[in-house]
């Protein structure tokens, strides 16, 4: 190996210290040190998040927005402070444009149901892309079926990039919404979302971004993007499961009907008529996942401390390190070779099935995802049953990538 200690690293965080912040990273699997490369599915949690969850249940637990007693006040303050931090993280204009949800899927369903109910009618259309996760396909299919609308799909090229010319051709008077992934979970492609939004807005069409795979890699500024809706999950952002966000522009959220009915989302209820609460509570029926809602921002605090630019640089370095080394393996083909990519490497190896490689890597302590990654239409497009996917985070190391490469070689040796 080349000794590159003479070259100053471009990123300015201490990888050893960072790894110590994540207790699970020092555990073993099948007697081998865990190498966790399934961050696209969910990320690991730093001590700060784990302790914040414990702190909530040991000293703050109480229902939010509905009590006069001390604890309820404290829990409400913590929940609303978290909303504020999320709002700052994505640079929303107003905190009440941040709706706390269960996760990305919940956020997309909210828009499909509420915006869809109000603004989509027979003969209309919704645009998605070939590389969408099932959670950004099925809610729109359900809506289109119900309304008699059409789902239109932006095609891609072999590298896994959207064909922007074809996208432009899809933009007509019937389109009510465009909902696309910012970063593809299967391919790692970073889509040109700014361009998509500009093109859509020129025709007065709103855009929703599935940012589940973006917020942990790229810095987000919803005002600069001018995006209409943006959805992401806390658990892929080093926070707890069951936490998620829907950002929506005030003008849309105000115009949309409530999605679910229940407590908290109302102002007054009588059997004759119910009036709804103001934003964001109109869309937060029932007791939220309070601990997750509070601790999503603890994960964000952690990321802010490291700096998303540092994270991006380091993860890009990991991507550039791993890609050629994997490509050297005979018969290995990387699926998703877009020019602009996040630290996701999907691959197949001739003569093997992804699940076989995954099983052997697991035995070596390496956690990767295998299968269709909830993007069956995309896998069908490539004509493959699935891929092996290593999705990298800032706590992964080049040494771990060497282990991955060695592990894949070992697996191929056994299988072929």
């Amino acid at each position: 190996m080349k000794n590159d200690t003479t070259i100053a690293p471009r990123y300015s965080f201490d990888i050893k210290k960072v790894r110590n912040d994540f207790p699970i990273l020092s555990t073993t699997v099948h007697g081998k040190p865990l190498i966790y490369m399934d961050n696209g599915a969910t990320s690991q949690k730093p001590w700060s998040v784990i302790r914040a969850i414990e702190h909530y249940y040991t000293s703050e637990n109480s229902n939010v927005h509905r009590g006069v007693h001390f604890l309820s006040q404290q829990a409400t303050d913590a929940f609303e402070l978290s909303r504020k931090k999320v709002s700052l993280f994505i640079n929303a204009k107003h905190d009440h444009e941040v709706i706390m949800t269960k996760g990305t899927t919940d956020s997309i369903n909210l828009v499909a149901n509420s915006y869809g109910r109000k603004f989509v009618k027979e003969g209309d259309s919704i645009i998605i892309s070939t590389m969408e996760h099932h959670s950004n396909i099925v809610p729109w299919q359900l809506l289109c079926e119900e309304k008699g609308a059409t789902l239109k799909v932006i095609p891609i090229n072999q590298k896994g990039e959207l064909l922007m010319d074809e996208f432009e051709k899809l933009l007509d008077d019937t389109v009510r919404l465009i909902s696309v992934a910012w970063v593809s979970n299967s391919l790692g492609t970073i889509n040109p979302v700014k361009e998509i939004i500009e093109m859509a807005h020129r025709r007065g069409i709103p855009v929703m971004l599935d940012a589940a795979q973006a917020v942990q890699h790229l810095s987000v500024d919803v005002q600069e993007l001018d995006v209409d809706f943006l959805a992401f999950s806390g658990h892929k952002l080093y926070g707890p499961t069951g936490s998620g966000v829907l950002y929506g522009k005030e003008k849309w959220l105000d115009a949309m009907p409530p999605y679910q009915g229940g407590g908290e989302m109302i102002k007054t209820v009588s059997f004759a008529k119910t009036t709804y609460n103001e934003l964001p509570f109109k869309f937060e029926a029932g007791t939220p996942n309070i601990e997750a809602g509070i601790c999503i921002s603890t994960g964000i605090d952690y990321i802010n401390e490291l700096g998303l630019e540092n994270i991006q640089q380091y993860e890009h370095e990991l991507l550039e390190y791993a890609t050629p080394r994997l490509q050297e393996i005979e018969g290995l083909k990387i699926i998703g070779t877009a020019a602009n990519k996040a630290s996701v490497i999907s691959f197949i190896v001739e003569g093997t099935h992804p699940s076989d490689i995954g099983i052997i890597l697991d035995k070596l302590g390496i956690a990767v995802r295998t299968g269709h990654h909830c993007t069956q239409p995309l896998m069908d497009w490539y004509g493959i049953p699935g891929t092996v996917r290593a999705s990298l985070a800032f706590y992964n190391t080049k040494e771990e990538l060497d282990q991955l490469v060695a592990g894949v070689k070992k697996a191929v040796g056994m299988l072929v």
Binding site: H353, P354, D356, I359, I360, P385, G386, M414
Partner: protein, 143 residues
């Protein structure tokens, strides 16, 4: 050989292996040796779709014996499938219905039968038993 005798035989074969790699190499070898399902039976009707890998299963019934043939698109799954076929095939429907498959656990491959694996293996075993059960209810119990 009874179903349990075959299971014990498999457990015995695997007891020779000291580490996981040898064990998996043997499974892979079994997968490669599994007589392929006849192409005419490799149809969607016989497909058991797992999230990870696919399994095709075909059953024939002769002289009160059920004969299974199977295939998978993943070699480790195929190796596991071949073991289940070896255990259950060529037995009477009643024997198959009553069979308790303990060999997978004993060999230390229990994780392959877990729901998260979703490799079609668990569904295949269910399917085999269903088939036997359906036959059992058709065939009078007088042999």
């Amino acid at each position: 050989m009874t179903i349990n005798e075959i299971q014990d035989e498999l457990v015995e074969e695997f007891s020779m292996f000291t580490d996981w790699m040898e064990k998996y190499e043997y499974i892979i070898q079994l997968g490669k040796e599994l007589p392929l399902i006849e192409e005419q039976y490799k149809i969607d009707d016989n497909l058991i779709k797992g999230c990870q890998s696919k399994v095709w299963l075909h059953a024939d019934h002769q002289n009160n014996k059920v004969l299974f043939t199977a295939d998978s698109d993943a070699i480790i799954t195929k190796g596991l499938v071949s073991m289940v076929v070896r255990v259950l095939s060529d037995h009477s429907p009643a024997e198959i219905v009553q069979a308790e498959l303990y060999f997978v656990d004993k060999i230390g491959l229990k994780e392959h039968l877990s729901v998260t694996r979703s490799n079609g293996l668990l569904s295949m075993i269910k399917q085999m038993k269903m088939y036997a059960l359906a036959l059992q209810s058709k065939v009078p119990n007088n042999q």
